[in-house]
């Protein structure tokens, strides 16, 4: 008898993440790709990739008639979750991230979960191993990955260079606006005045931290971070530490995959 495979697909605004697990929640492998369109084609390419021991499709996949092998189960989350026709379960990122993180931190019953994603940030409050409440940022992209993307694009610096730039800052600047567009204007004004790019990088991380923490108050206790922005900018943990000194902060392993992992767990 063949093993069962549980796939979690997180269709985010910037990246599609896929995690394959066993019925016990052990990760077999994971993969990711850019969110490109048509979405279904990109997802199919990821599921068929050599990153995984076998494809979930029993027939050559077509756009309209995917046949899923009997021992494969698929769940989707993220903004694109409703656009994949061959799933056995669909769930929001709120629940998916909660399931993924709760599995990793089994002994934690009460904590706050902060997921900073490509286009939104969420603070999820967990009590007695259940989601008590959640708050998502409002309409503006400030405090999300899109904010970092936009600013780096305007400043013509590589996103991956941002952490090392920020560590070299020698002045603390403040970006006051809660709007990405206004923040860009502020940065340009600061740059025109001859300010160092390293100080701007620091200001950028300070800004994103503030915007996330403005979403709601976080009771003291443990705070666990998930999502792609934290995985790629772990330096942010220092900035959060400065603002949450009464809390214990943790960055989840493979934080970008927490949602996909949680989606897969929803099937087991």
């Amino acid at each position: 008898m063949s093993d069962d495979y549980y796939w979690g697909i997180d269709l985010g605004s910037s990246a599609i993440k896929v995690v394959l697990i066993t019925s016990k929640g052990e990760i077999i492998n994971k993969s990711k790709g850019k969110t490109l369109f048509p979405l279904i084609k990109q997802v199919r390419n990821l599921l068929n990739s050599s990153d995984f021991p076998e494809s979930p499709f029993s027939e050559p996949a077509s756009d309209t008639d995917e046949q899923i092998k009997i021992n494969h189960f698929i769940a989707s989350t993220g903004y694109g979750r409703n656009h994949i026709p061959f799933t056995h379960n669909k769930l929001t990122e709120i629940k998916a991230h909660f399931l993924g993180i709760q599995f990793l931190y089994k002994n934690e019953s009460d904590f706050s979960l902060i997921d900073i994603g490509g286009q939104d940030s969420k603070i999820i409050k967990i009590k007695d191993h259940q989601i008590l409440d959640f708050v998502i940022n409002r309409k503006c992209a400030a405090g999300t990955g899109a904010f970092l993307d936009e600013i780096c694009h305007r400043l013509d610096i590589r996103l991956k260079d941002l952490p090392s730039l920020a560590t070299k800052h020698d002045k603390k600047l403040n970006l006051g606006s809660y709007c990405t567009v206004f923040a860009v204007q502020e940065m340009i004004k600061i740059l025109v005045s001859g300010e160092k790019i390293e100080n701007l990088a620091h200001a950028l991380y300070t800004s994103i931290t503030k915007r996330v923490l403005e979403i709601t108050s976080i009771e003291s206790g443990k705070v666990i971070f998930s999502g792609g922005v934290m995985q790629h900018h772990p330096i942010l943990l220092n900035y959060f530490n400065d603002n949450l000194s009464e809390h214990e902060l943790f960055l989840a392993k493979d934080a970008q995959f927490s949602g996909a992992f949680g989606a897969a767990l929803s099937l087991t």
Binding site: Y79, E93, I94, K95, I131, D133, F134, I136, K139
Partner: protein
């Protein structure tokens, strides 16, 4: 008469009155003193109803920016901006629906600020445009409880209104006509309350979205036999429907909606909740046309009390208690708060009400949007929040 026929006749009658020099048209706010106007033989037109029509027909895409461009801030009432923009554009959805080319010209405009002061600015615009006389009722607002002094205040303002109208019409108000209008309003509103009360059943026979479609007559035809007859028939039909229903109950969640409808998204939101077998069984909005205090023996005083007492005119403590009572009465699992950007008076999240309810064990979600300005509404964000909320309720 069915709903379509009732509303069609209402607008055709207004259109005829607008063109007939022997008949008079009064514009009135949706929870304004319509009974006084009926008693003085006015045909009564409600611009807020027209605002809702503009929203529901998703025709505000052009009208709102037009009003914005004339200096009306994007932060103020989108009913007002939809309606003023429609006027500036020479547009009304009544043309497509009933062949009526424009809204009826007012002989007088009467507003009451028991909901907000935007209605004053709205009516003043049209008073200037049509060169028509205008009268405003300014009741005390944000009331914890209704005092006799409040009732006297508003009753006195009604008396001034009557003198004002008598001067315009050159005729005296007939007390028996006023009593009759109040009696008919009372009968209609009691029936509307009975209809909404049927949602105590599980599964609920209809939901908030259905109710917003059925509430036209209680808004625009208070004080008439037509409204009374309509809700009598509706009540009978729904009662019969409940009797026919089997025991198959797929209702998983019973919810409360606080705030304005998102008029341009009624269908998609209704579908979203239906897909999850979630039913919005009660709402602040639909309940706002329940006026239990009308009393034909004390027409003016009882109107003052009824129109002072409305939810939107009360303080936050009252609103919290009100929602808690409905939650218990209708066996509700959670609350959906609509944060309507341009309608702060009809939005109850601003002073921490969701958290206060949460401390009493009531779960809720907030969706950002607006009644008519769909630029303030994101389908994806709203659906995501609602679905995540339903996952929590599971």
């Amino acid at each position: 008469m069915d709903m379509k026929e009732v509303m069609k006749n209402h607008f055709l009658s207004l259109d005829e009155a607008s063109r007939n020099p022997d008949r008079k048209v009064a514009w009135c706010t949706s929870v304004g003193p319509a009974e006084i106007l009926r008693a003085m033989d006015f045909e009564v037109y409600f611009p807020e109803n027209h605002g809702a029509l503009l929203g529901a027909t998703r025709t505000t895409e052009k009208t709102i920016p037009l009003a914005d461009s004339r200096g009306y801030s994007q932060d103020i009432c989108s009913y007002l901006r939809s309606d003023i923009g429609a006027y500036l554009q020479g547009f009304t959805p009544l043309e497509r629906a009933y062949g009526i080319k424009s809204v009826p010209k007012p002989d007088v405009l009467v507003y009451c600020t028991n909901q907000c002061k935007d209605v004053m600015h709205w009516f003043e615009f049209f008073s200037r445009q049509y060169q028509a006389p205008i009268f405003g009722i300014h009741p005390p607002t944000n009331l914890p409880e209704i005092q006799q002094s409040h009732i006297r205040d508003v009753t006195d303002q009604y008396k001034e209104l009557i003198l004002f109208l008598e001067e315009i019409t050159h005729s005296k108000i007939k007390p028996d006509r006023l009593a009759q209008a109040v009696k008919l309003s009372k009968e209609a509103t009691d029936l509307w309350a009975d209809v909404l009360g049927l949602c105590r059943n599980s599964p609920s026979p209809f939901d908030f979205f259905d109710a917003t479609i059925s509430m036209g007559p209680i808004v625009v035809l208070r004080g008439t036999e037509i409204a009374k007859d309509f809700y009598q028939k509706l009540y009978s039909e729904i009662t019969a429907q409940i009797a026919r229903q089997g025991s198959d109950n797929q209702e998983r969640f019973r919810l409360y909606w606080d705030g304005m409808p998102v008029w341009g998204r009624l269908r998609s939101l209704s579908g979203l909740f239906d897909n999850h077998h979630a039913s919005i069984v009660a709402s602040t909005y639909c309940n706002s046309w329940i006026f239990s205090d009308f009393n034909p023996e004390k027409p003016l005083e009882s109107m003052a009390l009824a129109y002072l007492k409305i939810f939107i005119n009360r303080n936050d403590h009252y609103k919290e208690e009100y929602i808690l009572n409905i939650i218990e009465e209708f066996n509700i699992d959670g609350v959906v708060f609509h944060n309507a950007k341009t309608c702060p008076n009809n939005t109850n999240i601003h002073y921490n009400l969701p958290n206060r309810l949460r401390s009493k064990g009531i779960k809720s979600v907030v969706i950002d949007g607006d009644l008519n300005d769909l630029r303030c509404f994101s389908d994806e964000q709203s659906a995501n929040r609602i679905e995540a909320f339903l996952e929590i309720l599971e």
